[in-house]
């Protein structure tokens, strides 16, 4: 066991922020969910007690009749902002005194860094390169992430949960977000930072980076598993497999929507629903491809002369 290797990765100055986010993200997730669950308890109480619902001020924060609903920005907000600014300044100063920014050797195109890793916040993208060709992993998927994020407000037709923490009223939205962000994005970054070594091969914590380890080149394509070798047949098979994937995941999602989220489904127009389905299926494709790659070494599902998926 070589824990020094893991320690070396973890204490790399540029990796300190990812260590930081591994502490901050659980904390703030907890802070948000704690409030969501507290609100959900109150919501449940109000749903079951219409009389109380009529008079209640509808917040968990204390409130009494005589209190103003509004407070002055000066001093009640500005003093907080000032304090936060001072605290952040102190944190940044201490951080900058204790930890030096890295400076490697001068750039040298003839001396390849192995592994050459992007900064940690891009390692999710770099990790996707393992599972998809660069045009998908490096261009299409990042664009879809950005466009998909921007689309969220326009496809989320649920009027509940606007301006307060809640889980119960927005289960699908919350689970989707946490699946995309906490699970996929952060896990990919963790893999990229901690588990990838020379040649972008997997090295488990406790393993030493071996610069001479052979790249495991063995892989197959999905159609080959089924005994197909003819390019045309392989392409047709690939298209069918992709369609099957879309139909199955889309179908399950559809049944879920119709059965479990009937009122939401009714409010959505076709474009909204189609966008949700499309983004959701695309998002699922990533872990599915990762799993079939790691378990069966399947590189491509669809092979054409112009592009492969």
């Amino acid at each position: 066991m070589d824990w020094a290797q893991l320690w070396k990765i973890t204490t790399l100055p540029d990796n300190i922020p990812i260590v930081l986010i591994l502490l901050l993200l659980p904390y703030f997730t907890w802070l948000g969910l704690k409030q969501a669950f507290a609100n959900d308890r109150l919501i449940k109480k109000l749903e079951s007690d219409p009389e109380m619902a009529k008079t209640h001020h509808r917040k968990v924060e204390p409130y009494s009749k005589g209190w103003d609903k509004l407070v002055h920005v000066w001093p009640y907000l500005l003093r907080i902002e000032f304090l936060v600014a001072v605290i952040i300044t102190v944190i940044m100063l201490v951080w900058s005194i204790l930890l030096d920014a890295p400076l490697e050797e001068p750039a040298n195109p003839n001396l390849t860094m192995n592994p050459s890793k992007a900064p940690w916040y891009f390692l999710g993208l770099q990790e996707m390169l393992v599972y998809f060709d660069p045009w998908i992993a490096g261009v299409v998927l990042p664009s879809l992430i950005v466009v998909g994020l921007m689309a969220i407000p326009f496809v989320d037709v649920n009027p509940l949960g606007s301006g307060y923490y809640t889980f119960a009223q927005r289960k699908f939205a919350m689970i989707t977000y946490m699946f995309g962000f906490h699970f996929l994005w952060i896990i990919l970054i963790i893999i990229g930072v901690f588990l990838r070594g020379p040649g972008w091969m997997l090295f488990w914590p406790g393993m030493t980076w071996d610069h001479h380890r052979q790249v495991d080149e063995a892989y197959v394509h999905l159609p080959q598993i089924f005994g197909l070798e003819n390019p045309l047949l392989m392409a047709i098979f690939g298209v069918v497999a992709l369609i099957a994937f879309v139909v199955v995941t889309g179908g399950i999602t559809h049944v879920f929507f119709v059965k479990k989220m009937a009122s939401t489904y009714k409010k959505m127009n076709l474009i909204q629903y189609g966008t949700v389905q499309f983004l959701w299926i695309t998002m699922l494709a990533l872990p599915v491809k990762a799993v079939i790659w790691h378990m069966f070494r399947i590189k491509y599902v669809l092979i054409t002369p112009w592009f492969n998926i």
Partner: protein
Amino acid sequence: MEEPKNTNGNDPAGANGNGKKDGPLQELKEKSREAIPMLLKPREGRVWKSIFRHPLDEKPRNRSLAVLQNVFLHLHPARINRDAVRFSFTWGMGGITFYLFIILTLTGIFLMFYYHPSKVVAFRDIQYLEHNVPFGKILRNMHRWAAHAMIITAWLHMMRVFFTGSYKKPREFNWSVGVILLVLTLLMSFTGYLLPDDQLGFWAVTVGTNMARATPLLGHEGPGGPELGMTAFNDVRFALLGGSIVDANALLRAYIWHCIAIPVLASIFMIVHFWRVRKDGGISGPAPMLLESESDQVIRG
């Protein structure tokens, strides 16, 4: 009537009453007597009042004016939701992200005094900065770590906005502006990575921009690229790097994107972002909770 307690300079009674007090010296003496209270109470003087346009005493009106009449504070409303000032709702994350951007702008300006965006010189500038410039090392460190921190806080800010459903009507557009800000934040970090011109930045940017080769239609290795006549010397990657490899032109381009173009864009989008927070009715909550049975009212409303 006794002694007129008049500090006002042009007291007609005093001047006309007995002319013998006139004389240049006497006049100076009187003027200095007037000046003393002015110096002791600057807040009543003309200069003060010209800067701060209202008194600072603790009246509700003045508390509002203090915010509304100050160019730096006027993005705030005069009063806000009493629960919105609680840390638990916003976590202060948007504000912290903005404050980190300010730190980055300030440290960045200082760094620019010591940095030339050209091959060989750039690397030496960083070394010089670390070893010879007073406080140079801490300056560089702070710029670096604030950049990393800003990405973390922007992600957390986005998470809190999502968790509180703050992107819902009427804030849909501001969420989209936020996404653009997030992309710009990441791009600022990425372009900055190349500037020290060391192995770390060079290879990170090489790996990153290599993906641009594979852009569909616009990259020379992307689907449809070669068919459209893309080569390594005219595709998007060439446009990004100003060449077919990461070299002097790429350094200059990264520098200009990093120090001018993206910060200006980000500032513009931040102005819009903050403006929209106000125009959409201030931050979203903590709002009174809606019940399932009432949700149809909202749709119609």
